[in-house]
C-alpha cells in the first residue's frame, strides 16, 4: 500500500482542523512499518484512512494506492470490496470491538460468510481452527465476549482480523493493556504474519515495541511526519529533536537516563469558532501551549510545527515551511537538517610545557543533550571542559559553537559568546565573591555583558533565574551573603548565575562533588528539569559513574588527556568497549580490582592504559590506537582490541 501526499481536514461547523498534512508512507509486503505518535498526532486518522472509515466531515486530498488501485475517492462499495479481504485492521479498545450479543465464534466467522467466500458451516469450522491456533478452545469460542478475559479477547480479535488473510494488516496499539505472556504471544503472531508476506503497519506510542518489531519507523507529530528511520536507530541514533525528546520521555529498557518530558504542551481542543473575512475557513493545526504568542494557541501550517517545543529552534523555524530531507538512511523534517551540533571541537590539544594536558581530541555535542565527561583526576577532563567553555584557548584545532568559529567570535565580541555559555564550578564557596550579595552574584553576568538598559528588566531576569532554581525571591534573601547560605543553596545560586543570561550551553565541572548526597540528589534533579525546560546543552564533567549513568544521554571516558571511549550512555555502561571503562565500572560497583598499577609515566608512544591492561599486546605498547567504531556508528573507542 502506498500513501502519497495524504492530507485530511476535519470540518465541523465553521472550524477546520488539519489532522494529517501531506503524509507519505509505503507499506511493503513482508515488512513491518511502525507509526509512532502521541495523542493528537493523527495516527488514528491515518489508520482509518487506510480502511476508508473516515467520517463524512473529513475532507481528503492525496492518494492511497492499494496494489496500484487508487482508493482515495472510492465509494463505500469500492471500499467494502477490499475491506478485511485485502486490508484489515485491529482496532484499539480491545473488548469494545466485539458485539456483546453475538458469540465470539460467529463474529470470527462472519467476514467469511458475508463476503461470500464460504458457507456458514465451512466458515465456522475455519474460524474454530483459527481460534485454536490462538490457543482458544472450541468451548471458549462459543461464549459471549463478556465471558472472556482481556488476553483471550485480544487473541480473538487477532484471529478475526487475520481470518481472510489480508495483504495489508494495520495494528492499532495491539499490545496495550496485555500481560507479558500474551504480549509475547501476540508479538510472535505478528512477526509470523510478516514473514508470510503481509505488509504490516504498526501504530503505537510504545517505543520499545516499535524498536523490537518494526523494520522502519515513521514519527508523526501533529499530522506531519517528522522523521523516518530504521527501527534500530530509534533510541540510539535519532536525528530529529522530537524523536530524541520522545525517546527520553519513554520508560524504556534501553535508556538509563532519568525520564524527562518535552517542554511545552500540545493538545487539541476544538473550542473556538473561526471564519475568515471572505467566508472561507482556513485549515490550521490546533496547539495550545505555554507560549501565548501563537494567536491564542493556533498554529498555522507555516513554519515548523515542533518549533514551540524544540530545543534548538532558530529564527527561520517560525517562518519557513519545512520539508522532509534525506539524511543518510533517515528522512528528516528539520530546517537544521536534524539535530544540530551545538559544539564541535576538532583536533584540539593543550600542553603546559612538557606536560600534555590534552592530547589531540575531537568532541561534538548535539543540541539539547547532556554529555557526561568521565575520568579520574588529571585525565584532562577539566581542560577539555574549559576549552569547550571558551575560557581556555587550545594550542591547535578548531572550535565551533552553533556553527560559528569560536576563536573568531572570541576575538570579535567575547561578551556575546560569554552570554551563550554558562559555567558552574565545583566549589561554590570559591566560585563567588564573598563581598557580593545573592542578588549581585546572580546579576553579575548581566552587568558585565551590559545586557539590559533598564534596571527593572535586569531585576526581572534575576528573579526569574532564582525562581528557576527554586530559591526564594524575598528581599531578605536577595540581600544575603554567601557565608550565610549552606552549600546546596549556594551552588544553586551559582547555577542561577550561569542561567541568568539565557545561555544555550552549560558547562558544569563537578558541580555536585562537594555537596552532601541528599543535596546532590536535589541539585542533579534540578539540573535535569532545567535542561528540559530550557532546552540546554549540558557538558557535565564528573568522576562519578553513578551520576553519569543517571543524567547522561551520551558519555565520554577520558584517560591521560585522551578520549578513549565515546557513545550513548546505555551502550558505554552496558557494554563497555574499552578495558579502562570496564575497570572504572567494576570499581564503581565496588568489585575488587586485580592489582592495579598506578599510572606510570607518560608513555608517549603506546596506549596509556597498556601497562594496566589485561588484554595488552605488543602493539599496544608501540602504537597509539586510533578511534574506531563499535557496531553503532556513534559508539567510538580507541583501542586495538576492544571488548564486547
Amino acid at each position: 500500500m502506498t500513501i502519497d501526499q495524504w492530507s485530511v481536514t476535519y470540518r465541523v461547523n465553521d472550524h477546520a482542523l488539519l489532522a494529517l498534512d501531506e503524509v507519505g508512507l509505503r507499506l511493503v509486503p513482508g515488512s513491518i512499518t511502525a507509526l509512532v505518535g502521541e495523542s493528537g498526532s493523527g495516527k488514528t486518522t491515518l489508520g482509518k484512512s487506510l480502511m476508508g472509515l473516515l467520517p463524512e466531515y473529513a475532507q481528503v486530498k492525496g492518494h492511497i494506492k492499494l496494489d496500484e488501485q487508487e482508493m482515495a475517492g472510492a465509494s463505500e462499495e469500492g471500499w467494502n470490496a477490499v475491506r478485511w479481504s485485502e486490508v484489515a485492521m485491529l482496532f484499539q479498545n480491545g473488548p469494545a470491538n466485539l458485539n456483546p450479543v453475538h458469540r465470539v465464534l460467529d463474529q470470527v466467522a462472519e467476514p467469511l460468510i458475508q463476503h461470500g467466500r464460504r458457507s456458514k458451516a465451512e466458515a465456522t469450522a475455519e474460524a474454530e481452527k483459527a481460534l485454536a491456533r490462538m490457543k482458544i478452545d472450541s468451548s471458549q469460542a462459543r461464549r459471549f465476549p463478556h465471558e472472556l478475559s482481556g488476553g483471550e479477547i485480544q487473541r480473538t480479535l487477532l484471529a478475526m482480523t487475520l481470518i481472510m488473510d489480508p495483504g495489508v494488516l494495520i495494528l492499532d496499539e495491539p499490545t496495550g493493556a496485555l500481560d507479558a505472556i500474551t504480549k509475547a504471544f501476540v508479538s510472535r503472531i505478528i512477526l509470523d504474519t510478516r514473514d508470510q508476506g503481509t505488509a504490516v503497519l504498526l501504530i503505537t506510542h510504545d517505543l520499545d515495541l516499535a524498536r523490537n518489531m518494526a523494520d522502519n519507523v515513521a514519527m508523526l507529530y501533529l499530522g506531519q511526519v517528522m522523521e523516518t528511520l530504521p527501527a534500530k536507530d530509534l533510541l540510539t541514533n535519532p536525528l530529529h529533536p522530537y524523536t530524541l525528546a520522545l525517546g527520553r520521555s519513554y520508560p524504556s529498557m534501553e535508556t538509563l537516563r532519568d525520564l524527562g518530558g518535552i517542554r511545552g504542551d500540545a493538545f487539541y481542543r476544538i473550542t473556538h469558532r473561526h471564519s475568515e473575512k471572505n467566508g472561507g475557513v482556513r485549515p490550521h493545526t490546533h496547539v495550545i501551549g505555554t507560549e501565548p504568542s501563537h494567536e491564542n494557541g493556533h498554529l498555522h501550517p507555516k513554519g515548523c510545527l515542533f518549533q514551540p517545543r524544540c530545543t534548538q529552534s532558530i529564527g527561520p523555524c517560525c517562518e519557513k515551511a519545512v520539508q522532509l530531507q534525506d539524511v543518510g538512511s533517515h528522512r528528516v523534517r528539520c530546517l537544521r537538517g536534524g539535530i544540530a551540533m551545538q559544539l564541535e571541537l576538532m583536533q584540539v590539544s593543550k600542553r603546559y610545557g612538557d606536560f600534555t594536558a590534552l592530547g589531540t581530541t575531537d568532541m561534538t555535542l548535539q543540541a539539547g543533550e547532556i554529555f557526561c565527561l568521565v575520568g579520574e583526576t588529571g585525565s584532562g577532563k577539566t581542560t577539555l571542559g574549559m576549552i569547550a567553555a571558551g575560557t581556555l584557548s587550545p594550542d591547535q584545532g578548531n572550535r565551533m559553537l552553533e556553527g560559528r568559529d569560536m576563536d573568531r567570535w572570541i576575538r570579535q565580541d567575547y561578551r556575546s559568546l560569554a552570554g551563550k555559555i554558562g559555567v558552574v564550578y565545583q566549589n561554590p564557596a570559591e566560585a563567588v565573591s564573598h563581598r557580593l550579595s545573592v542578588f549581585d552574584i546572580v546579576a553579575e553576568p548581566l552587568k558585565i555583558q551590559k545586557r539590559f538598559r533598564e534596571k527593572g528588566e535586569m531585576r526581572q531576569r534575576v528573579l526569574r533565574a532564582l525562581t528557576d532554581v527554586h530559591l526564594s525571591t524575598d528581599t531578605s534573601f536577595l540581600g544575603r551573603y554567601p557565608h550565610e547560605l549552606n552549600m546546596g543553596a549556594l551552588q544553586r545560586v551559582c547555577i542561577a548565575r550561569a542561567l541568568v543570561s539565557g545561555p544555550s550551553m552549560v558547562v558544569a565541572d563537578e558541580p555536585t562533588s562537594s555537596l552532601d548526597p541528599s543535596v546532590q540528589a536535589k541539585v542533579l534533579k534540578m539540573i535535569l528539569d532545567l535542561q528540559i525546560e530550557k532546552g540546554l546543552t549540558v557538558l557535565f564533567i564528573t568522576h562519578d559513574l553513578g551520576v553519569a549513568r543517571k543524567i547522561g544521554d551520551r558519555m565520554g571516558v577520558m584517560l591521560a588527556g585522551r578520549l578513549v571511549e565515546v557513545g550513548p550512555t546505555v551502550r558505554v555502561m552496558g557494554r563497555p568497549a574499552h578495558p579502562y571503562t570496564g575497570l572504572l565500572i567494576a570499581g564503581a560497583r565496588g568489585e575488587t580490582i586485580a592489582a592495579v598499577k598506578p599510572p606510570g609515566g607518560s608513555n608517549s608512544r603506546g596506549c596509556p592504559f597498556a601497562d594496566r591492561c589485561e588484554r595488552a599486546r605488543e602493539i599496544c605498547f608501540s602504537r597509539f590506537p586510533e578511534m574506531g567504531g563499535v557496531e553503532e556508528t556513534r559508539h567510538l573507542v580507541r583501542c586495538h582490541f576492544p571488548m564486547g
Partner: protein, 325 residues
Amino acid sequence: MKHSQRNSRHRQYIVAYLLAALVMMYVSYSVPRWLPGDFVTAMYSSSHVTLNAEQEADLRAYYTQRQGFGRYLVDFFTLNWGYSYAFLTPISELIREALPWTLLLLGTAHLLSMVVGFLAGVEAAWRRGRVIEKAGVGSMTVLEGFPEIGTAVILLLVFALHLGWFPAAGGETAYVEQSFGRWALDVTHHLALPLLTLLLAYFPGNFLLTRGSMVMVLKEHFIETARAKGLPSLRIRYAHAARNALLPMVTRFGLRIAFMVTGALVVETIYAYPGLGTLLFNAIAMRDLPLIQGIVLLSSLMVLFVNLALEFVYGWIDPRVKHAS
C-alpha cells in the same frame, strides 16, 4: 451462562411476580372492608340503579362478610366473580364478552406500533443528520405531546362525524347476521379509528426511544469494526446495531405498560368500543363496585403477566444479564 444460574434467576422472577399478584388480589379483597359505614345506601341512592331490598341486603352482606382470603382465591380461580347489579349479569360473563375486543385493540396497537416504530427508529438513526431524520424526530416529539384523549376526539370528529368514513361507535354492526369474511371486514372497519388513535399515541414513543438508543449504539466501537469487516450495511444496521438497541426499548415498554392502559381505557370509552374500557366506564357511572373491582383486578394481573414475560424476553435477548433486577 450456567444452566442452574439461569434457572434460579427465572425462579426469582416468578416468585417476585407471584408475590405481587397476591398482593394485588389481597388489596382487591380487603378494600371493601375499609369502606366507611353504610355506604351502600349512600352510593346507590344517587345512582340510576334501583335495588330491591333483597339485592341491597345481598350487596351489604357481600361487602361486610368476613369471607376468608382463601375462599376468595378459590372463587377467583373458579371464575366466580360475583354479580353485577347494574347489568344484571354475572361479572365473569361480562368480562368474557369484553375481553377479546380489548385484546384485539390493544394487542394490534402495541404490536404494530412496536414493529413499525422500531423499524422507523432504526432507519432514522442510520440516516442521522439528514433532513428527513430531523423532520421525523421533530414531528414525533410534537406528536408525543398529544394526549390520547385529544387525538381520539379529533379523529372521531373528523373522520366519523364529519366525513362519515368510519363508524363512530361499537366493535361491529349490531343485530346483523354476516358471513365470516364480511364480519371480519366489518370488525376491521370499526377497529380502524380506535386503532389509529392508539397507534398515533404509541408510535412516537417507540420511534424516539429506538432512534435514541440506536444513535448511542452506532457510536460503539464494535460498529466501526463491523464496518471495517466490509459487512453490508443492512447487516450492520440490524444484526449488529438494532439487536443491541432493542434492549432499552424492552425495558421501557415494561415500565410504561401500566401507564398505557389508562390511555387505552379512555380511547375505548370515547369510541364506545365494547371492550373492558367501556365496561369500566359504565360500571363507574353505575356505581357498580363489584364489577369495577373485577375489571381492575383482571387488568392488573394481565399487566403483571406481561411484565413477567418481558423479564424473560430481556434475559433471552441480552446474554449479559446475570441476576434478577
